[in-house]
C-alpha cells in the first residue's frame, strides 16, 4: 500500500490530532499569505490517453516562512488549520527542527490512516469473485 503523504495525513486525521499538532506550530513562524480555501482543477488521463478536466476539488492552501525556509501545503477539504499544520511541519522538516513529539503524532496519524485503508482493501479483497459459466452456456 502506498505510503500516505503529509498532506494526505493532515486531510484525513481526526480533529483532536489537528488540535494537538497546532500546539507545535512555532510562534515566530511568518505567514507570507494567510491560509486560504480554494479549488484545484483536477485533470485526468482517460483510456484513450487523452487528458480532460474532471472537475474541481475543494482544498485549503498554506504557505509559511521560518528560519529561512518556506513550507507549503495543500490539503483536500476546507480546513485552513490542517494546511497550516502541514506547511509548518514541511518548514520544520526542511530546517531539521521538527520536534520528535510532533513526528510521533504524525506517525500515529499515518498508522491510523493506513489501518483504515487496510480495512477498505480487506473488505474489497473479500469480494473477489470468479464466476463460472453455467453448463451449456
Amino acid at each position: 500500500m502506498r505510503e500516505p503523504s503529509l498532506c494526505e495525513i493532515l486531510s484525513e486525521c481526526d480533529e483532536a490530532v489537528v488540535v494537538r499538532m497546532l500546539e507545535f506550530v512555532p510562534e515566530d513562524m511568518d505567514l507570507p499569505r494567510a491560509p486560504r480555501d480554494g479549488v484545484i482543477l483536477m485533470t485526468c488521463r482517460e483510456g484513450l490517453n487523452e487528458t480532460f478536466h474532471l472537475g474541481e476539488v475543494l482544498v485549503s492552501e498554506s504557505m509559511v516562512r521560518w528560519r529561512g525556509v518556506e513550507g507549503y501545503a495543500v490539503v483536500v477539504g476546507d480546513d485552513p488549520r490542517r494546511s497550516l499544520v502541514a506547511a509548518a511541519i514541511d518548514a520544520m522538516r526542511q530546517a531539521q527542527a521538527a520536534p520528535s513529539d510532533l513526528e510521533a503524532l504524525v506517525a500515529d496519524a499515518a498508522e491510523s490512516l493506513l489501518h483504515r485503508r487496510g480495512e477498505d482493501a480487506r473488505a474489497a479483497a473479500s469480494t473477489r469473485v470468479e464466476f463460472d459459466l453455467l453448463p451449456g452456456a
Binding site: C7, E50, G55, V57, L58, R128
Partner: protein, 360 residues
Amino acid sequence: MSYVAVQGGRDAIERACESYEHRRSGRTSAPLELDQIREQLHLAVDRVMGEGGLYAPEHASLAFRQAAGDTFEAAFLLRAHRATLPRIAQSEVCSTGPMRVIRRISSAFKEVPGGQILGPTSDYILRLLELDPLEDPVERRNHLRERLFSGKEPEGGIPDEFPRVVELLRREGLVQAVSTTSEEPFDITRRSMLYPAPRSARLQSMARAETGALLFLAYSSMRGYGDIHPTLAELRVGYVPLTVTNPVTGRTFVAGEVLVTEAEVVSRFSEPGGEPRFHLGCGMCFGHNELKAISMGVLDRCLRSTAPSCPAEDQEFVLYHADGIESMGFANHWKLPHYVDFLSDLDRLRKAREVAHARA
C-alpha cells in the same frame, strides 16, 4: 416570452423562506447531522458533487440538507459556492492506474488480470424493501464489521495497480489505438464551447452533467435511437491521488484522495476501408456513481460519430441539455412573473378571435 421585474412582497417572501426551512426541519424528527448524510447517504452526496463539479463531501452534504434532498438544487448550491473560491492551481495529470480500488468488474471477460472485485454493491440481490429490520441498526453495523474484519485475511489482497482490461484487446489490435495528441485540455469553466467541441470539452461537460439526463440519452442509443450497444470492458471505483506541484520547490506531492468512478465501454465499429475493431467510450465522474460513468462512456462513443443520426450522437443536443443546473434554471424560471408578456399574448389572442368571429 420573458419574465418581468416586480416589487413588493418582502414580508411574504421572508415568511415563505421561513416556511420552507420549517418544513425541511420536520415536525418531531431529530435534526439531520452532516456526518449522517455524508456517511449514510453517500451516493446522493457523490451525485451532488459530480453534478456541482466540485469535490467537497462536507459541503455537498450541507447542500443536500439545505435543499431538502433535491439533488438539482444541492448541485446548484455547490456550484454557486464554487464561484466564490479562487482557483489555486491545476493538478498534475491524474491517472486511475494508482487508484485505490474498492470495486472493479468487467462484463467483457470472466477472468481479468488483477481479478474481479465486487466491492460495495447491491447488484446481485433482490431489490426488496426491508420492511422488518431484524436488528437494531447499531448492532447491525457491529455485526457487519465483525463479518468483514474478523477471521483470517482474504487471500490475494488488493494489488496497488490494476491493468486496464481494454489493454487485453489493444494488444491484439482489436481496439482503437490510443491518442497521440498532446493538446492542453479545453476548460469549459473558462471558455465558451463551440461546436464541434474538442473531446476534452465534451468529457468535462459530461463529467458534471446531470445523471438522469446522461442516462436518458445513453439509454435512447442503447434501445435503437442510435447504434451503440456497448459492452462494459471495465468499471472501477476507488480513490485517486490528487497530485499537485509545490510552487516553491517545484516538487510534486499528493494533497489527498478523490473518490472517482470510471467506466470503459467498447462497441463494434467498421470504418470504411478499414478493419473492423472495437471503439472505446470513456466515462469518469466524481464519487461513486456507476450509472453516470457508464452512460457517459456510451455517450462519449456516440458523440464521436462522424454522421450523427440520432439525438445521442448530436453534440449540441447532448451537451446543451444534459447540464442539470442549466436545464433546472430554465425550467424554474417559468415560475417567475411573466405578467406583461402574458397580457400581450392575451391581447393578441383576443384580437385574433375578433377577426375570426368577424369573418365567420
